[in-house]
């Protein structure tokens, strides 16, 4: 009978220098440290010299945090809805389901529109990825991935490829061909490799690069052709659930939201986290840039959607109601940015007036939670994907 209560000698990457070598498992104030013997020696020397270093760093970080709060507070001279008082009140909102896309055998987890405004790609829990023509309801392409829970899918800007990823920890790109009989799986190209599930993916301005977010807490930028990692983004302390690219052509920033309740803005070239917003009270499920690129909205499990201004570096609006108690899973703006569509886990879609902070309308129809919604590129329609196995097009 083997009772494994003793510490086994471990071999692996040292937590300090990163080199793989036999590790000394030591405990400092009940905190387990796994360093190689060289680093343990180094550490004891440093400790004798800089015993105050952690305490002084902590003091400095607390001071900086206070200073940040003060700086942000100084700018809060007026509320967004007060500035928007002069805007006209939105009239009655009349959109309804125009198309019902049936065909998935299980929960639809993600969808994305093509730039041609009529095609869209959707992915579901059973591993199927389908490309639809939204006008005719025709299924143009279908691929079955070997993994289940395909949580992310994206259409390439050229319309010639789709990317998808999920529990397989990878993001794969499939070039779409006009030949219906061609097996798409044959041309599959594995691009991204994460150490946990892929929660979101998007092409950048061209078909050549994709940006992915993962449950391993990082985001990464990949070159499609070579599969090479171009840049990685570290900073989240939990799963990253969503990302969105800044809309402008020259912009090279993106926003990510995660289970650590933070939304971070990243510079794609340097990998640096340039801004961080931590006002949500639960996981952030979805983030989306405002059309002008100066702000973004987020949807969270705390049943609120929030609007953050990038130039003022703070939250400027909260979209919530006492009657809404279920988490919001997805958000998108209408073309002008005046309307915010948010899908919730109570099967509804709420339409918010972004500027005034009031709810304009509620859309009913889905029979299970709304997992993702996207406004079409020309703004004429809204597509919502749901756990009831269908997608609905509202217009």
């Amino acid at each position: 009978m083997c009772d494994q209560t003793f510490v086994a000698a471990t071999f692996g990457p040292c937590e300090s220098c990163g080199k793989a070598s036999p590790l000394m498992n030591i405990y400092i104030k009940t905190e387990a440290i796994n360093f190689c013997s060289f680093c343990v020696e180094l550490m004891t020397c440093q400790v004798l010299q800089g015993g105050e270093s952690v305490a002084s760093l902590k003091r400095e970080s607390d001071n900086l945090k206070k200073k940040l709060e003060e700086e942000r507070g100084k700018l809060n001279d007026i509320e967004l809805h007060q500035v928007a008082e002069k805007s006209e009140v939105l009239g009655a909102f009349a959109i309804k389901t125009r198309r019902l896309l049936k065909g998935h055998g299980n929960k639809v987890l993600c969808m994305d529109w093509c730039k041609d405004k009529r095609r869209l790609v959707s992915s579901s829990q059973d591993g199927k990825v389908i490309v639809w023509d939204a006008f005719t309801l025709n299924k143009e392409h279908g691929v079955t991935l070997p993994c289940t829970w395909v949580m992310a899918c994206a259409y390439a800007p050229s319309g010639c490829a789709v990317a998808c990823g999920g529990l397989d920890n990878k993001c794969s790109v499939f070039p779409l061909s006009l030949d219906k009989n061609e097996n798409l799986n044959a041309k599959k190209k594995s691009v991204a490799m994460h150490t946990n599930y892929v929660s979101g993916c998007t092409f950048t301005s061209s078909d050549m690069q994709i940006l992915t977010s993962s449950g391993d807490g990082t985001c990464a930028l990949w070159d499609v052709e070579s599969g090479q990692l171009l840049q990685s983004f570290h900073g989240h302390t939990a799963d990253v659930l969503s990302l969105d690219l800044a809309p402008s052509e020259t912009g090279n920033t993106f926003v990510s939201g995660g289970s650590d309740m933070k939304a971070n803005i990243w510079d794609m070239r340097s990998g640096q986290n340039i801004q961080s917003f931590e006002t949500h009270e639960s996981d952030i499920n979805c983030v989306k840039y405002y059309p002008s690129g100066d702000a973004f909205a987020s949807a969270s499990d705390d049943a609120t959607c929030r609007f953050f201004d990038l130039r003022a570096d703070r939250e400027v609006a909260i979209y919530q109601k006492d009657s809404i108690i279920f988490g919001a899973s997805s958000v998108d703006f209408s073309l002008s940015g005046r309307l915010l569509f948010a899908g919730y886990n109570d099967y509804t879609i709420n339409v918010w007036d972004v500027l005034k902070g009031t709810r304009v309308s509620v859309l009913f129809g889905h029979e299970n939670r709304v997992s993702r919604l996207r406004v079409s590129p020309d703004g004429t329609a809204l597509c919502s994907a749901s756990w009831d196995n269908t997608l609905r097009i509202w217009s």
């Binding site: 510490v7 000698a9 937590e15 300090s16 405990y27 400092i28 905190e31 440290i33 360093f35 680093c39 180094l42 550490m43 800089g50 015993g51 270093s53 952690v54 305490a55 760093l57 400095e60 970080s61 900086l64 940040l68 700086e71 700018l75 809060n76 001279d77 007026i78 509320e79 967004l80 500035v83 805007s87 939105l90 009349a94 125009r98 939204a134 006008f135 986290n273 340039i274 961080s276 405002y290 002008s292 702000a295 201004d309 130039r311 003022a312 570096d313 400027v316 209408s334 073309l335 002008s336 940015g337 005046r338 309307l339 972004v354 500027l355 406004v375 020309d378 703004g379 004429t380 329609a381």
Partner: protein
């Protein structure tokens, strides 16, 4: 292999972690921020400028909306 306890009050990994946190906060603190009255005005102006080109806001006629079913033609 037995575990050793260190009597000091700090460890290398938490120093590194604290240093990273301070560096990140320094970067964020150095950002130039603009008052909300100005940025909010810009957001409102953007909405105003683009409201006419927003079909979901202004609504479009059934004839030009590819998703709305057109009324069938009646031949007289």
């Amino acid at each position: 292999m037995s575990g050793k306890t260190c009597s000091s009050s700090s460890s290398s990994s938490s120093v590194i972690h604290a240093q990273k946190l301070v560096d990140q906060l320094r970067v964020e603190a150095s950002m130039e921020r603009i008052k909300i009255s100005l940025t909010a005005a810009d957001l409102v102006r953007y909405c105003q400028d683009h409201r006419r080109s927003d079909p979901l806001l202004t609504g479009i006629a059934a004839s030009s909306n590819p998703f709305k079913d057109k009324k069938t033609c009646v031949l007289l």
